[in-house]
Symmetry: C2
Subunit: 368 residues, 2 copies
């Protein structure tokens, strides 16, 4: 193996591939990254069995070859290489990298032991514009549960494809986000649940400047594969049935509020400083008289209040939420104003962009 | 109490004062910050008995008064206040702050219970230019020990004043930094040891743009007080005798090296990526043939090497150090080139700015 490449390209590839390398690997080879140079393409792979990532970058290869080395050390050195290009070759079970007067030698591991990323045969396959996928993910992934003792199904996002419609849903049972998009062709019905942590990695990888690329999504019974121009991500699906969520979406409302997104977010963030160490991080919202009073209090410490203008239709209302559940969605609302609908202090509220039927967020109030 | 002030001023005062407020206070009032408004001056105090800080800022007072409130919450709200000015008043055991449409109420604590900062009568007092003090501290404080099981005396910096000379020394027994300066008057001999953590806070507080201010340093048997134009810091001294350090400073050398400071620092930081998870974080330096080879290796992982130009006089040498002990001092060396002198691989090395007799850093090598 002997090739040279740009430090930027290899650094970028390793940064993504390392998302599939176990932090605490069960066997040494799982701390490794697989590298294959062949002609003008270098393939970099990481695999922790739950997720596998392949990235391809342009290189100038003198001798084809494949190798496995410690991923963390490789990434650290490549990131800090003093030169703009890196010359890489293999020599006596060692990967040698030379750049800008520095030389790094990393012991290689047995290539045969490395679990190369497999892309299972697809039972169903569809295409989605990369930036459209990014938008769907940005508006939903945050609403999934973390790993704190919830059922595994809630740590994933449910993809549903039917005809030319795709929808992605995430919920931690206290809040839910649902985003819909239109595909450029008609597909058979399919639904599957992908770990949110992997979707976040995919979202962060999508280049928002690149409006012309598509992702091909292949799914089989147990795996999903996202194929981009220069990267492939394959992830084990979360097993189980995603709960029916249609009935938690309110169909009518008693109070309808329109408020400036940014001002509303800042007001909640400010008053929530009072509550942030308390159990429910609760903020109270009082809607009446064309204003919303945002407040929070903490026993023995004090309270904070901010009043902002609002357009209100229907009943006056006093309701309380976990501040994070409202702030999280206001961060992904792209419109200057945001619309909220309520029924009563005990029923879920709906939050959305005015006039946009393709996104809805539901938050359950806190009882005070 | 009723006053108004700039958000920036109060935020700045609280940021510094909070350095003297216990993170885990033994009694609730020690989580408090004391505030006194009187005429055009607001005094803000924090005190954890080991360190007390007073900051004074300009305000416009309507009613004089004094109050104690939770420091952390006060700081968080003041930092995030939406307006440029803040109106503050007391109302029924509550401090009320209003700014930019937001209103915050914080419960007050008993002013009588708060341990107001005392400035013990000075047995000896001297003056030093603030930016000169900053420079002395920047070059020494980092060399003190952390709190990890060393003798308390090594967690401090030793101040020594004699005639018109001030020197500050810090050591963790493996490395030592000594910086000297000239005072503008002649003083009686005195020496005392101040906690490094407090000196770091003082250093960060000094405004480097202000070349005309002086710090007055008062010391008594058990306390030292630093008085600046708008702030006073009083700290309990570390008891015990600072060990004699003169004899660890080499008086001769077999190898003398001059190398570019920045390149040397970058080379060590780069190769040390290999060793950074190992116990001693060791880098090896080989000086010969007008070059220094900087290298590091990690068993089973690999090795890294960078060679940089050097001017070398005397014997060739191979020596190893904890990488951090060399990088730390290279960060505070202000000259383009740095000078190092050595005797043998087992004896301490000296590092300094060429031609500057007022600063020396000593590092003990690692035996490999």
């Amino acid at each position: 193996m002997r090739f040279s490449c740009y430090q930027d390209d290899l650094n970028d590839a390793l940064q993504f591939v390392m998302r599939a390398v176990a932090v605490k690997p069960q066997t040494p080879v799982l701390a490794g990254v697989y590298i294959k140079s062949e002609g003008s393409v270098l393939e970099v792979q990481g695999n922790n069995y739950a997720v596998g990532i392949i990235v391809r970058i342009p290189v100038s290869t003198e001798d084809d070859g494949e190798i496995v080395v410690n991923g963390k050390k490789l990434q650290e050195f490549v990131r800090n290489m003093p030169g703009r290009t890196i010359n890489v070759f293999e020599e006596e079970n060692t990967l040698v990298m030379e750049s800008g007067g520095a030389s790094v030698r990393l012991s290689t591991m047995d290539v045969q032991e490395f679990p190369k990323v497999k892309t299972p045969e697809a039972e169903m396959s569809f295409k989605v514009q990369s930036i459209a996928l990014h938008d769907l993910l940005r508006k939903t992934v945050f609403a999934a549960a973390g790993n704190e003792g919830t059922r595994p199904i809630f740590t994933g996002c449910c993809f549903e494809v039917r005809d030319e419609l795709i929808s992605i849903v995430a919920t931690n049972t206290h809040r839910l986000a649902l985003a819909k998009g239109i595909l450029s062709a008609t597909y058979n019905e399919v639904s599957f649940v992908v770990p949110a942590v992997t979707l976040r990695d995919i979202m962060n990888r999508i280049n928002l400047n690149d409006r012309d690329t598509f992702a091909t999504i292949n799914c089989s019974t147990r795996f999903v594969t996202f194929t981009f121009d220069n990267a492939i991500v394959t992830a084990r699906l979360i097993e189980g049935l995603f709960p029916p969520y249609d009935r938690v979406i309110p169909t009518s409302s008693m109070t309808r509020v329109i408020v400036e997104t940014q001002k509303f977010k800042e007001a909640i963030e400010f008053v929530a400083l009072m509550a942030k160490e308390t159990e429910y991080n609760t903020v109270k919202l009082v809607f009446n008289n064309e204003a919303v009073e945002v407040s929070s209090d903490s026993p023995e410490i004090g309270d904070a209040v901010k009043i902002i203008d609002a357009h209100i239709e229907g009943d006056d209302l006093e309701i309380a939420f976990n501040a994070a559940y409202i702030v999280d969605v206001l961060k992904v609302i792209d419109t200057e104003k945001v619309e909220l609908t309520f029924n009563d202090p005990f029923s879920p509220a709906a939050i959305f962009e005015p006039g946009n039927d393709n996104y809805i967020y539901i938050a359950t109030p806190v009882r005070t």
